[in-house]
């Protein structure tokens, strides 16, 4: 079946531009996660949705980062006024559900590589 898809796969932005990164989770997956992976590092948690509710955004590095999932399916991560330090791979993952005391496997998308020049 179809896995998690992300678009675009590559994005080059000039410093100061706004960008929008899209994630299509696996159909029926309730939970959706965004991660930022800098070069040579492991993924770092940004934010988490359960259906359309954003339950945790503690990992967003600044108020320039904004994520939404208005209908509980597709999600968009928006970065305003991009800076060079925003250059990274942005990963999206989805799972059946993530509730306290229980965990289901996260399925990752291929990522979007953002380069800010």
């Amino acid at each position: 079946g179809a896995g998690v898809s992300q678009s675009p796969r590559y994005k080059v932005a000039k410093r100061g531009q706004d960008v929008a990164l899209r994630c299509d989770p696996i159909s029926g997956h309730v939970s959706l996660f965004w991660y930022q992976q800098a070069l040579g590092q492991g993924p770092e948690f940004l934010t988490y949705f359960q259906n359309e509710a954003q339950l945790d955004k503690s990992g967003l590095p600044s108020d320039r980062f904004f994520a939404e999932r208005p209908e509980g399916s597709v999600s968009t991560l928006k970065i305003q006024r991009t800076q060079q330090e925003d250059s990274a791979v942005y990963l999206c993952a989805s799972s059946l559900v993530a509730v306290q005391g229980a965990y289901y496997e996260q399925y990752f998308g291929p990522g979007t590589r953002l380069t800010v020049t």
Binding site: G3, V4, F33, Y35, G40, Q41, G42, P43, E44, F45, Y48, D56, G59, L91, A93, A98, Q100, G101, Y103, E105, Q106, Y107, F108, G109, P110, G111
Partner: protein, 108 residues
């Protein structure tokens, strides 16, 4: 804060040799530990999790709460095991914390 450390950025072994990828974590409770793998040009995928106590592709990992370690082991490495390996933990109600990763290179 919860942390996951993987001391080796790169580990090279010869085909058929044993391999151990180290993972240590700092957390005082009882987290759930995982190993994720990323093969060349593929997406990140789950390899194994400690609660299932499975052996996947010949890999095993034992959670040692006393040493707060979750090392990944395989007795005989294969060339197709070459990949990036990430150790990760999750604790109740929170989200994943990933380690920095170890690149395993299995030489012919």
């Amino acid at each position: 804060a919860q942390r996951v450390t993987q001391p080796e950025k790169l580990l090279s072994v010869f085909k058929g040799a044993p391999v151990e990828l180290k993972c240590n974590y700092s957390y005082s409770g009882s987290p759930e530990l995982f190993w994720y793998v990323q093969y060349s040009r593929q997406r990140l995928q789950l390899l194994l999790r400690h609660i299932s106590r499975e052996s996947i592709k010949g890999f095993t990992a034992d959670l040692n709460k006393g040493e707060t370690s979750f090392h990944l082991k395989k007795p005989f490495a294969q060339e197709e095991d070459s990949a990036m390996y990430y150790c990760a933990l999750i604790w109740y109600g929170q989200n994943f914390v990933f380690g920095p990763g170890t690149r395993l290179s299995v030489l012919p």
